[in-house]
Amino acid sequence: MQKKFLGDYEFIWGPVRKGVNESILYEFLSSGEELHNLDITFGYKKRDVRNVLAEKGNLYEQVLVVERISGLHAFSASLSYCLSVENFFGLADKIHKNLQILRMFFAEAERIRNHIENLSEIAESTYIQVPSAMYAYYAEMLKQLFVKFLNSRYLMGINMIGGVRKNLSLNDMEFIFNSVKSIVNSVQEIIKKNMETKSHIDRLKTTGKIDMKTAKRFCAKGVVAKSAGINPDLRIKRPYLLYGDTKLNSIIFNDGDAFSRYMVRIGEITQSLSILDYCLEMLKKNRFNNTSDYFVNMKEIDERTKKHGFGYAESSEGPIFCYAADFDGSVFKKINIKYPFGNNYKLFACGVKNTMMMDFNINETSYNFSVAAADK
């Protein structure tokens, strides 16, 4: 704890907080309005994922666990794991282009869903309930769309080593794209109206401001970094799958406040929709017929190749890295997965100093943390 001055008092919040939240402990030092210090304690939800993974019986069971480290980033995490395993087995070049496109498609769909959900939470944190409910409604529509075609509202069980597990046809993909497009169009209408809601925008502007230097010092990731003028987006910096062909622009804002983070999310929703469009065009061009036509022949696996495999994927909140080693014939005994939240939490604890207590909720929501991923 930081040094206390006359009139300062400490109070704790957590690990069980109000509403429906994940368990984490915040210890504040405040003089009433202003927050002087924040200590964050993790570890309440530690499931010891590393050992759980090592005890699994086959590679797909490991995928199921990886997906559930943080359920809201299930697809990106499993993608990162699958890419690292495919890298280990020398399968990376053997995955058919169409399967890579499908993976891009769902990764972007997950990003759109997470951003829309965050817009809903941000609107709620500034006490404008109507747009918050509308965003939440459209996020729900997306989840219902996913369950219809993929049997999972959180895009679990789609990735597998060597491709995509669900059977999808071009018609299915076209239907999914058109539905996502109409949902995003509706969301953009709300965003437009929300931009004119002064009480909403004013509360976001200058809230939770961080400068580029601090962001760099803490190695900020994802949306948080992009809001402070840094672009660490792996889809652009080190393209994987077929992101290299998409010619993405960096979405960068420089103010480092909650409003910039909000704007990055809005920009990414539009960008992701254009990637979905690109994916569908490519599927049509490549005469995609059915997922099952492109499964990798697992006999082609080259077991001699490497000591370890490495993969990464850019989730809605930043990069997820996966390192897999010690293959014992059925599973990898050593798997390291790194989510972006560890760094962002440190930056958050630093950036929250000398901000207003009233803005704490808005500030925290704009980071869109997953405690589960930080606390695995």
């Binding site: 994940e22 499931r47 050992n51 005890e55 943080s70 404008i128 409910a133 939440a136 529509m141 679990m156």
Partner: protein, 277 residues
């Protein structure tokens, strides 16, 4: 805020009619079912299925990552005559991965997703059917090591589609006002004391709903920690405090990974209306 009030009204009512009607969305699934007639696991030519020990096909059993399927129970299960039989598919373990469905699809097509609600109920003290809560139901949530998806599903109950407020169900920040405790997560050691602390502050009559595979059996995280502890969930936990919880409290098991909002809402409504025995 007249602008948003107007826009809200223009947006219209989007809520489902559930529970008045089962107007689930397209593609809604809420359980996995095995059709005993189609299943090839038992040698039906060798007399009565109960006597047969020959298992011709066990593909689904072997595919299931959480050991939820036990085909031996099929004889006394849905199609057999045996009294309260164990189910061939233990819903408390099922995480909805669909591997069994894939495994069977090219063999007999005996397993499929279904719309039927399916959950076990372990609640004793109120033997007679009684309505414990008169008007509204207040729910407290505690996360004991979840992945965040279960929380997202509980939060979804607030969106205009499910809109649990219309049914008189509310999330409360304080355990002292709560009637129901929704537990998510694998019940980590560090959260155990905190859980009992929260529970002690909830006045009786109260219900504890174990939400998702994690608090039931540990779900995909089952048998974690090598040295002590472990993600075992609560159902098969032998610790005295937990055994006492099952004896003294109304504990309801709500499986799946994650359980979808309709399932959660259904359980809360059953509690509210006093339909749990």
């Amino acid at each position: 805020m007249a602008f948003w009030t107007y826009n809200g009204l223009k947006f219209g009512i989007k809520s489902v009619k559930f529970p008045k009607e089962n107007d689930f969305y397209d593609g809604f699934i809420s359980s996995v079912k095995i059709n005993g007639q189609k299943c090839l696991s038992q040698d039906k030519t060798a007399g009565s299925p109960e006597k047969s020990s020959e298992f011709q096909c066990r593909k689904c059993e072997l595919a299931c990552p959480t050991k939820a399927i036990n085909l031996k129970n099929l004889a006394g299960g849905e199609n057999g005559k045996g009294a309260p039989a164990l189910k061939p598919l233990d819903a408390n373990r099922c995480i909805f991965c669909g591997l069994c469905i894939d495994a069977c699809s090219n063999i007999a097509g005996a397993i499929s997703y279904s719309k039927d609600f399916d959950f076990g109920i372990a609640s004793q003290p109120y033997a007679d059917k009684r309505k414990a809560f008169k008007k509204s139901l207040f729910v407290k949530h505690i996360d004991t090591g979840s992945c965040g998806a279960c929380e997202a599903e509980i939060n979804a109950l607030n969106n205009p589609y499910y809109n649990m407020h219309r049914l008189g169900i509310f999330i409360t920040p304080s355990p002292r006002f709560a009637d129901v405790l929704l537990v998510t997560g694998t019940f980590t050691k560090k959260m155990s004391d905190i859980f009992f602390n929260v529970l002690d502050n909830i006045p009786k009559p109260r219900y504890v709903v174990l939400t998702g595979s994690c608090p039931l059996t540990g779900g995909v995280f089952e048998n974690g920690f090598k040295d002590g502890g472990g993600n075992k969930g609560l159902l098969f936990n032998n610790e005295s405090e937990i055994k006492k919880l099952f004896e003294e409290d109304n504990v309801i098991a709500l499986p799946h990974c994650p359980p979808n909002p309709f399932e959660i809402l259904n359980v809360l409504l059953l509690i509210k209306n006093g339909d749990f025995k």
